[in-house]
């Protein structure tokens, strides 16, 4: 199976998934999971930079205590746009819909996902949802925050709430379709010999993620639907004057949105497991525990949503239960951190770009997660709820960890997806820039938050300025760190050196087929004979 690079290059005719068909329609009507993954990649990149541009403006505004760059209305629309784009249209689909789509069937030795047409439909739903949201922006923007809290969103805001909510609603179908497809594919389409405990952890992560996508997304659909009803007809569902309960919306919203934070992080954990094993040339320590931990997070994650509502007026005993469960959900995360560390032990480590991102992930996720524990502590959350402490917590996890994992995965599988290698030097440099810029941006926000600066503030007392300036400075470095990969990855499509099927000498079925893979992934259905991560001395060729 392990052909040398030269052999591969001569063996392969030009026939791969990219060259199998030509023309724009061969993309728009494709049912090939790999092409759909690429289409997702292009679209989420667009939404990421849109959200990033909003962040840039916000950080500029926050450089001074007064309001000078934009108006208060505009600022409120900016953070709403930023949150909605980044969560619903970038981070939720990022790893699952791009890397998962591309790799999951190949990793389990299947020719495609179980329902290729539904997979294509998911991309269209995603795009239509995105367009509605962009339309909402063009129609004047939305100023409710990504949480759409009632009764503000239903009775008081006079911005394009409905358009944005419709966008989020439609986008929900794309999540459901992706999740459904992954679940069925993992269950039914594994290659001969690919038993459950031979699945790479990335596949396990996708599986756990899909459970959440399938079960949680319908609930936000209900919440969004009710907002539309209430806002269009004023029937009183969330209007306390007519007997409605604004808190009910928060319950529905967080019932989705808490589990969905694990949709954003579990795939990252999967990616990091692959990368760490490959660059440490060791099997992941405690493989089964890692798989169970993923499932445990997905399941317990459904029971902790009330920790976003400690000061909302929910019952005190309810808060206590939610707090305890939030502490519990940290345990499986701890297992993962410890096992990665143990994997590195006695490995043979090299520090290529993907590994740098993975190590960055471990460090930043530790910080983000441990501050999550502080938020889960009732007494502390009363103080720091809705302050920059929360903002820092979730950026540490979502930007510091999840985006890092996405970038790491992108670099790791880039040669597989495109058949070309990016310039390693630039890769390492931008990983470093991202790491430094990130910490400079968001660490000061922990301090700001504990000092009491509330979030969603367009102006703030002057005493908070120094820390805010640091944060803005960091954000500009971070922007450079994100623009760099965009440039060199795109350039590598033409300038990068061609690579063989397995440039990292990794295990895993995806590395046994050519780069880029042929249209149906494998010429012969592979038969799996060994557990994953069977790294050994002979494989340590490079």
């Amino acid at each position: 199976m392990s052909a040398t690079i030269e052999e591969v290059e001569t063996q392969r005719t030009e026939e791969n998934y990219l060259t199998a068909d030509y023309g724009i329609w061969s993309w728009f009507f494709t049912t090939d999971h790999k092409r759909i993954g690429i289409m997702y990649m292009i679209s989420i990149t667009f939404f990421f930079f849109l959200g990033g541009a909003a962040a840039t403006l916000m950080r500029l505004e926050l450089m001074t205590p007064g309001g000078d760059v934009v108006q208060a209305e505009t600022y409120n629309k900016l953070f709403t746009l930023h949150g909605v784009m980044m969560i619903f249209f970038f981070l939720v689909p990022s790893i699952p819909a791009v890397l998962g789509n591309f790799l999951l069937p190949i990793m389990i030795g299947a020719r495609d996902l179980a329902f290729p047409k539904i997979n294509l439909a998911s991309w269209y739903f995603y795009m239509v949802g995105g367009l509605f949201t962009v339309w909402a922006i063009l129609a004047g923007g939305v100023d409710t925050g990504w949480t759409f809290y009632t009764p503000y969103s239903t009775m008081f805001s006079n911005t394009s709430v409905i358009l944005a909510v419709v966008g989020v609603f439609i986008n929900g179908f794309s999540s459901i379709f992706t999740g459904l497809n992954f679940l069925v594919t993992v269950h039914k389409m594994r290659a001969p010999g690919m038993t459950w405990f031979r699945l790479p952890l990335f596949v396990w992560a996708m599986y756990a993620t899909s459970i959440i996508l399938v079960l949680a997304t319908p609930v936000i659909a209900v919440a969004m639907f009710l907002i539309i009803l209430e806002r269009s007809f004023g029937v009183g569902i969330f209007n306390p004057k007519l007997g409605g309960d604004p808190i009910l919306f928060q319950h529905l919203f967080w019932f989705y949105s808490h589990p969905v934070v694990y949709v954003m992080i579990l795939p990252g954990m999967g990616v990091v497991s692959e990368i760490v094993a490959c660059f440490a040339r060791r099997a992941v320590f405690g493989y089964k525990f890692m798989a169970y931990a993923l499932l445990a997070i997905a399941v317990i994650g459904f029971l902790v949503w009330g920790h976003h509502m400690f000061v909302s007026g929910q019952s005190m005993y309810g808060s206590m239960v939610f707090s305890m469960l939030s502490f519990l959900v940290a345990i499986p995360s701890a297992i993962k951190i410890f096992n990665w560390t143990a994997t590195i032990h006695k490995g043979s480590l090299s520090f290529d770009t993907p590994m740098l991102y993975a190590l960055g992930f471990i460090g930043l996720f530790t910080i983000g997660g441990l501050t999550g524990l502080m938020l889960a502590s009732l007494a502390i959350d009363v103080h720091v709820h809705d302050t920059y402490f929360v903002v820092a917590h979730f950026h540490y996890i979502m930007v510091g960890s999840a985006v890092m994992a996405y970038l790491g995965g992108l670099h790791f599988w880039w040669p597989k997806m495109t058949g070309r290698m990016y310039p390693e030097i630039w890769g390492k440099l931008s990983a470093l820039v991202v790491f430094v810029g990130f910490n400079l941006t968001f660490f000061p926000q922990f301090v700001l938050g504990y000092l009491g600066m509330p979030r969603r503030y367009y102006e703030y007392p002057a005493e908070f300025q120094v820390l805010n300036v640091m944060s803005t400075a960091g954000a500009s470095i971070l922007a450079v760190g994100y623009v760099l990969p965009l440039i060199y990855l795109v350039l590598s499509l033409w300038l990068g050196p061609k690579v063989g099927s397995n440039p990292w000498n990794a295990t895993g079925l995806e590395w046994q087929t050519s780069s880029p893979p042929p249209k149906h992934n494998f010429d012969v259905t592979p038969v799996v004979k060994e557990p994953p991560y069977a790294y050994s001395e002979e494989r340590n060729l490079t």
């Binding site: 208060a72 409120n76 100023d143 809290y149 009764p151 503000y152 009775m155 805001s157 306390p240 004057k241 604004p246 440490a280 405690g286 000061v311 909302s312 007026g313 005190m316 206590m320 707090s323 305890m324 502490f327 940290a330 345990i331 701890a334 297992i335 951190i337 410890f338 143990a342 590195i344 032990h345 006695k346 490995g347 043979s348 480590l349 090299s350 520090f351 190590l359 471990i362 460090g363 530790t366 910080i367 441990l370 524990l373 502080m374 502590s377 009732l378 007494a379 502390i380 009363v382 709820h385 809705d386 302050t387 504990y450 000092l451 009491g452 509330p454 969603r456 102006e459 703030y460 007392p461």
Partner: protein, 301 residues
């Protein structure tokens, strides 16, 4: 209270630093020691992974549950106001805070309180959800429309402290700020006397009680059989349904707006609703009056 919250916070920081440093140290140490090409010993002993896994599930579990219990106890005390607290009424609206002292003095975006005395805020909103946040006291509580929430604090140092609205409430959310001014009790008294509004909350409530016609039924001399309200507040009330509820603000408010929803045991549901006839401001006053009727044991007619 601030001290107790900070103590947990510091403990959690210590705990987090320990784990962060431990993990970063191990990663860097391994990264150097086991870098590719190094001569480190890589022979693995076939030790049982399961034992390790058990240890690093069990130890964090114990620590974490300890932290949970600690934080929850402090929270419990943050939540329960002491009995000697005096009451201030807070009305949030886009985008200002209206605060009313029991003596009737009204302030906008500023709250003067005496040093050392527990203060309990009874809060409601006229429009959307706001959140009353004083970082220096480590307190925060959402303020909801058509509902009362409360929060309490005991200032321990004179000075001026930030008051923020912490729940996003629209365009000028960041302008919905003010300050809490903690004064020496003596200064506070003179501040209070200075420009005191002619009437206390309770006194205006007493007037309303008459003008709205409540006294027609609830007065001792009334011919309608209605419960006396002296001492109701803060005490358990048996209901027709067999339930026993405590007469808090919410209960009194509901009794006035939705009398049919909670009928006192032994009485007929004849009390009309005052929905639409009484506004938030007046409600607060009537409630203040009913509270002022003392906490003496309930007089049965």
């Amino acid at each position: 209270m601030a001290g107790r919250v900070d103590a947990i916070f510091l403990a959690l920081i210590a705990f987090s630093l320990f784990f962060t440093f431990a993990i970063c140290f191990l990663i860097i140490y391994f990264a150097v020691k086991y870098r590719r090409g190094s001569k480190a010993d890589r022979t693995t002993t076939a030790h049982s992974g399961a034992l390790m896994e058990f240890l690093w599930v069990f130890i964090p579990f114990v620590i974490v549950m300890g932290l949970f219990v600690w934080a929850t106890i402090v929270y419990y005390h943050q939540y329960r106001a002491p009995d000697d607290a005096f009451e201030i009424y807070v009305l949030g609206r886009q985008w200002m805070w209206e605060l009313k002292h029991p003596e009737g003095k009204k302030e906008i975006n500023e709250l003067h309180v005496p040093l050392g005395r527990a203060v309990r805020l009874t809060m409601t909103s006229q429009d959307v959800i706001h959140s009353f946040y004083v970082p220096a006291f480590r307190i925060k509580q959402d303020v909801l429309p058509e509902r009362y929430t409360s929060v309490w604090f005991r200032p321990t140092k004179t000075g001026t402290y930030h008051l923020f609205c912490a729940e996003y409430c629209g365009t000028r959310h960041s302008g919905m700020i003010g300050s809490v001014i903690v004064m020496d009790p003596v200064d506070y008294e003179s501040w209070l006397a200075n420009g005191l509004e002619p009437e206390s909350m309770a006194a205006s409530g007493a007037k309303l009680f008459r003008t709205l016609g409540c006294s027609g039924c609830h007065d001792v001399n009334s011919t309608v059989r209605a419960p006396l309200l002296d001492g109701v507040y803060g005490h358990p009330v048996p209901l027709e349904t067999g339930q026993i509820v405590t007469a808090d603000e919410r209960y009194v408010r509901d009794s006035i707006l939705l009398p049919k929803s909670q009928v006192v045991a032994g009485f007929k549901p004849v009390m009309p609703t005052f929905q639409g006839r009484i506004d938030e401001d007046e409600l607060l006053k009537v409630i203040a009056y009913i509270k002022s009727l003392g906490k003496n044991v309930r007089v049965e007619r």
